[in-house]
């Protein structure tokens, strides 16, 4: 198994290296085949590893590669941990990546930097696999930063556009703020437990004081808010939509942005030690889900709506983690990866057909022109809205049921968010596919055209997965449900038994009612109009003025301080003080003035002469 797992990790790296070194000799098509092929191979290897793991005597297999950093008491191996959690992550990451690579060969066709795009994409998959397979926090951090770097490159892919360049930088820096949390969590754990390997941390975590455990959990939460775009570090994600759409689907919806949730789930035995820490996580998740959903109701750009929707859905996952429902969090993560990748790729197909238009006010009535995009998008829309029997209904229901058992207020917030979700997604759907045709100016009068097969095949596959994804976790269908498979990984399972069946049906009914309410509301409002002063608010459109707030409180004061440092502190204060000191010393040493000719050359000459005299003298003596 060690070999297979290692190959699974190295495949995308192989693709990266071959395109990096040989890319200039390869045609666009060959690059596409190699780039997609290695990821597909990785997926196959992940499937093999999965079957080997379930037939393996132990569910936790450590694969040592080499010793990376080893100084004193700090030992960080390059080693992988193959366990139910990591292999689950590997399966859906490689699977969706392979589909999106395939889609990209069509979407990016004819782009100037086609090779570079696949280069970044392969490196991304490698980093993501490293993130989930690492057996210690430092190696996870390597993947964590690697995916961030690829995200930076891919967001600023159209670097000659200033907005894209700024968005890439913003994404990286917001993530870096989160990284401070991850670093401090590692520092705390290492200083107390003298290890950074997951399994050893869990063994020793009992010795952590509650205070330290809470600090570690909060630091990890900070890391997660950066990577997974949660309050207070969420507003880089909408800007990241500057990247090409396959990137938005893969990195900024399905995989990378869920890394924060993965980290929290991975560290669940430490989370178990801090009740207040988990409560903070739940509140951050719930509030983010709600705030992002409100913002999504007033966005005009189709990708921005999906971006805020992603933030909101990850909020649900974080909420689930906060209440200890780790299985539900991972379930929603996978289901979300299916339907959100589907929605993004579908929106990419729409944008492609309209020659790059992203404003929903200039869409409408696309239903009859896009015979494959339309039905698949329809499935994605119903799934995210929470209509049964699609994957979204089951996974979101799972989260909300668990939250209901822990905290009624957060549950109510979750249901409210569910209504908003159904509402803004229906608005998006209606504005795009239904109503009047408003796109003729963009297509210069032509009919929009459906995308080529490489782009529509992934849509169909993802739509199928969205339809059947729910069975991953239906305990009455089979005994090996996802939560049951993952359970050994979590040192802690939420206290309190599951709600009885009647309550579960009741909660499911509430979910469906919420979805239908949002859907109907959207239908009655947006059926005939494409913008509305009443139902869209500038406050929400400008993201609660969150960026302006940071700019006013952090950005501008720091810039001013830097200018002040450059203009005043540096030349006047520091240099002035030192020069002043020198002048006063010189005044007090008037006697030496005659020697001080003021020319450095003379000093230099004096130094050389002095040394020469000493050396000659010594040589003479020794001789």
């Amino acid at each position: 198994m060690a070999t297979v797992a290692t190959l699974l990790l190295l495949m995308p790296l192989l693709g990266f290296l071959s395109v990096l070194l040989l890319g200039r000799y390869m045609s666009e098509k060959q690059v596409g085949v190699v780039g997609t092929g290695v990821v597909a191979a990785s997926f196959v290897l992940a499937v093999i590893t999965f079957f080997m793991l379930i037939h393996h005597s132990s569910r936790e297999v450590t694969v040592n590669l080499f010793s990376w950093i080893s100084v004193g008491t700090l030992h960080v191996p390059a080693a992988m941990l193959v366990d139910p959690l990591s292999i689950t992550m590997c399966l859906f990451v490689t699977g969706i990546s392979a589909l999106i690579h395939l889609y990209s060969t069509g979407y990016m066709h004819g782009e100037k930097d086609f090779r570079k795009f696949f280069l970044y994409l392969n490196l991304f998959v490698f980093s993501m696999l490293l993130l989930v397979l690492a057996n210690n926090l430092v190696l996870t951090f390597v993947g964590w930063e690697g995916v961030g770097l690829c995200s930076y490159w891919l967001v600023s892919y159209y670097f000659d556009r200033d907005s894209a360049a700024s968005a890439g930088k913003k994404a990286f820096i917001y993530n870096r703020v989160g990284d401070v949390g991850m670093l401090i969590a590692m520092f705390l754990l290492f200083s107390r437990l003298h290890t950074l390997t997951y399994l050893t941390i869990f063994e020793r975590s009992g010795t952590l004081t509650p205070m330290i455990a809470t600090l570690v959990v909060l630091a990890l939460l900070l890391a997660a808010t950066g990577k997974s775009a949660q309050i207070p570090l969420f507003n880089w994600l909408p800007d990241a939509m500057e990247g090409p759409t396959p990137v938005s689907a893969l990195i900024h919806a399905a995989t990378m942005v869920t890394a924060g949730v993965y980290l929290l789930v991975r560290m669940s035995p430490v989370l178990a030690l801090s009740h207040s820490g988990r409560m903070t996580i739940a509140v951050i998740g719930g509030v983010t889900a709600f705030v992002a959903a409100t913002i999504a109701t007033s966005q005009k750009d189709i990708k921005k709506v999906l971006a805020f929707s992603t933030i909101s859905q990850i909020g649900y996952m974080v909420l689930a983690v906060g209440v200890g429902a780790y299985g539900a969090a991972i379930f929603l993560m996978i289901a979300h990866a299916f339907f959100k990748a589907l929605l993004f790729l579908g929106s990419g197909s729409v944008i492609h057909s309209l020659n790059g238009e992203q404003d929903m006010r200039k869409m409408g009535g696309l239903q009859k022109y896009l015979p494959l995009t339309f039905p698949t998008f329809l499935i994605g829309w119903l799934a995210i809205s929470g209509i049964p029997p699609f994957a979204g209904f089951w996974s979101k229901g799972d989260v909300l049921t668990n939250v209901f058992e822990h905290n009624k207020a957060l549950w109510a917030l979750g249901v409210l968010t569910a209504i908003l979700t159904a509402y803004y997604m229906s608005r998006l759907f209606i504005l795009t596919f239904r109503g009047t045709e408003r796109f003729r100016a963009e297509t210069e009068g032509h009919d929009p055209h459906e995308s080529p097969w490489v782009m529509t095949t992934p849509l169909v596959v993802l739509a199928a997965l969205t339809v059947v994804g729910g069975i991953l976790d239906l305990p009455w269908v089979h005994h090996d449900s996802l939560a049951g498979f993952l359970a050994p990984t979590f040192g802690y399972v939420a206290a309190g038994g599951h709600a009885d069946t009647v309550a579960q049906y009741g909660l499911a009914l509430v979910d469906v009612a919420a979805a239908l309410f949002g859907l109907l509301a959207a239908y009655s409002i947006w059926r005939n109009i494409s913008e509305s002063k009443r139902w869209e608010s500038p406050f929400l459109e400008h993201v609660w003025h969150w960026d302006d707030f940071y700019d006013a409180t952090i950005g501008r004061p720091l810039t001013e301080a830097a200018r002040f440092g450059d203009d005043v502190i540096e030349p006047e204060v520091i240099d002035g003080a030192i020069t002043g000191l020198a002048v006063s010393v010189r005044r007090s040493a008037e006697g030496l003035r005659k020697v001080q000719s003021g020319f450095v050359r003379h000093y230099a000459l004096a130094t050389v002469l002095g040394l020469a005299v000493v050396i000659v003298f010594l040589v003479a003596r020794v001789g």
Partner: protein
């Protein structure tokens, strides 16, 4: 124990190279060939030494290749060389820096004086790192000023004389304190052992008994000289001007290499000789280091030209090194020594690329550039790798060292480490912002026509990129050589059981 002849060769090769280069006739470019040959030989020698180096020479001693010849007993002057894992890395860096600086300065190949000064500087710097004797160290340390002065004042930019003067006065004044400190220490040592000869031997002086007060004053005297050289905030104000005005090869030598004399001296001499002073001086220097990290990062954001930009970013990096050196933690000190090397390599990369751009455009002002990634994608890619290493991206060299410094310092001085961790965010901010202003956007006019990196330029940067990647992925051989020496040093300066 290996023969000390290896170290003597390391000293003689650049000296002979310098003389050889100076004697050739001007226009033929033979001086350049001589210099390249000498520095290739020097690098090969240093790698052999690194390969041979053995840290188990004697019990509790990690110095290898040692020898001591007293040249003049009454003056205490001696030829005393030895290296341990710490100086070993600096020796390799010295040899590497001069070779890359020469290769990057190919347009000066018709100037024998220029290459001769560079080789002479290498000889003196090598001498400082090899010295196992304080007086010998001081002489070499001082001698490095002369080639530097001439390189800046002869081949520098518009304000070269001002820059050279400022550089000279700052460092010269700093060393005055060092000389007084060394003399005081040696006489105190002689005084304690009646009838003994005056000696400046490192091993002898490190056993000098002294009161806490004396230790503090001596520590301060040493620290001032090294803080100017490094530079450590607030004694850094000579560096932005000097780096900006010096020719590229000079900026490389000063920031990649000579700056390390400061932090190396701080670790070897200030920390190594005055353990008693550490209790009271540690918080002071750690605080200055952290201020340097944040202050340097802040000014790097707004500074107008690329070389000053590297100067301020180096101030921040030197802050990290100082933090590790003063932390009293083995892990952090190993990280600091590794960062001295990594920062050297990264800075060489920065200055080489900036030099290539300056040669094409005659400017280093950030506002003169835009969108260079369009016409020069290879140059942009090379700059990106160097930049990412400097940001501390895991998988590249900068991360390993920075991470070791922070995690080690956290164990001994948590709060300083926490504040310094924000320097990691700041580094991303100033580097990515600078990158965006120079390389992103739409290139117009002269920017759109800028030529990409030539094959020669790419090959010069290959060793830099390789070192950045290899030391990021597989730092083990290097760490294994540094660790025993650092452990020994930390053990020496901290009472048993206190250090972590």
């Amino acid at each position: 124990m290996h023969s000390s002849w290896w170290l003597t060769f390391l000293l003689v090769v650049p000296l002979v190279g310098a003389i050889g280069a100076a004697l050739t006739r001007k226009r033929e470019g033979r001086a350049y060939a001589v210099a390249i040959a000498a520095s290739v030989l020097e690098l090969a020698l240093s790698l052999v030494v690194a390969f041979l180096y053995n840290d188990h020479v004697a019990k509790a001693q990690t110095f290898d290749f040692a020898t001591r010849h007293v040249l003049s007993a009454p003056f205490g002057l001696a030829y005393d060389v030895a290296i341990d894992g710490i100086s070993l890395l600096m020796v390799v860096l010295t040899a590497l820096t001069v070779l890359l600086a020469l290769l990057g300065a190919r347009d000066r190949r018709q100037e024998p004086a220029f290459v001769a000064w560079l080789l002479l500087l290498t000889c003196f710097t090598m001498g400082s790192f090899l010295s196992h004797d304080l007086l010998e160290f001081f002489i070499f340390f001082e001698l490095t000023l002369i080639p530097c002065y001439f390189i800046i004042s002869q081949w520098g930019g518009k304000e070269r004389s001002k820059a050279a003067l400022k550089f000279f006065i700052y460092t010269f004044t700093g060393s005055a304190f060092l000389l007084i400190g060394i003399l005081y220490l040696a006489f105190a040592h002689q005084h304690q052992l009646p009838g003994s000869a005056l000696t400046f031997s490192y091993s002898a002086l490190s056993a000098t008994a002294m009161s806490h007060g004396t230790a503090v004053w001596l520590f301060i005297a040493f620290a001032i000289a090294f803080a100017v050289k490094a530079p450590i905030w607030p004694l850094h104000t000579w560096s932005p001007l000097t780096y900006a005005e010096a020719p590229t090869a000079g900026s490389i030598e000063m920031s990649a290499l000579l700056a390390k004399l400061g932090t190396y001296g701080l670790l070897r001499f200030a920390v190594g000789l005055f353990p008693l002073a550490l209790v009271s001086m540690r918080p002071v220097i750690l605080t200055l280091a952290v201020i340097g990290i944040l202050y340097g990062s802040m000014l790097a954001c707004t500074t107008p030209d690329l070389k000053r930009f590297v100067a301020y970013s180096s101030l921040a990096q030197m802050g990290f090194i100082t933090l590790g050196v003063m932390s009293g933690s083995t892990i952090a000190t190993v990280g600091a020594v590794l960062l001295m090397f990594n920062h050297g390599v990264i800075t060489i990369g920065f200055f080489l690329i900036i030099g290539f751009i300056e040669k094409r455009r005659g400017s280093i002002l950030i506002k003169d550039f835009k969108g260079l990634q369009g016409p020069a994608p290879i140059m942009a890619a090379l700059f990106t790798v160097v930049m990412l290493a400097s940001i501390g991206l895991p998988g590249l060299s900068g991360f390993v060292s920075e991470y070791l410094i922070l995690i080690g310092t956290f164990a001994t001085h948590s709060w300083w480490a926490v504040v310094a961790t924000f320097g990691v965010v700041a580094a991303a901010l100033y580097l990515l912002w600078a990158y965006q202003r120079v390389f992103h956007g739409k290139a117009e006019g002269a920017n759109a026509e800028m030529a990409d990196a030539t094959t020669h330029e790419q090959w010069v940067l290959v060793p830099v990129i390789l070192l950045i990647v290899v030391l990021g992925v597989f730092p083990k051989p290097v760490l294994d050589r540094i660790t025993p020496s650092v452990q020994q040093l930390i053990h020496h300066v901290a009472p048993a059981g206190v250090n972590k």
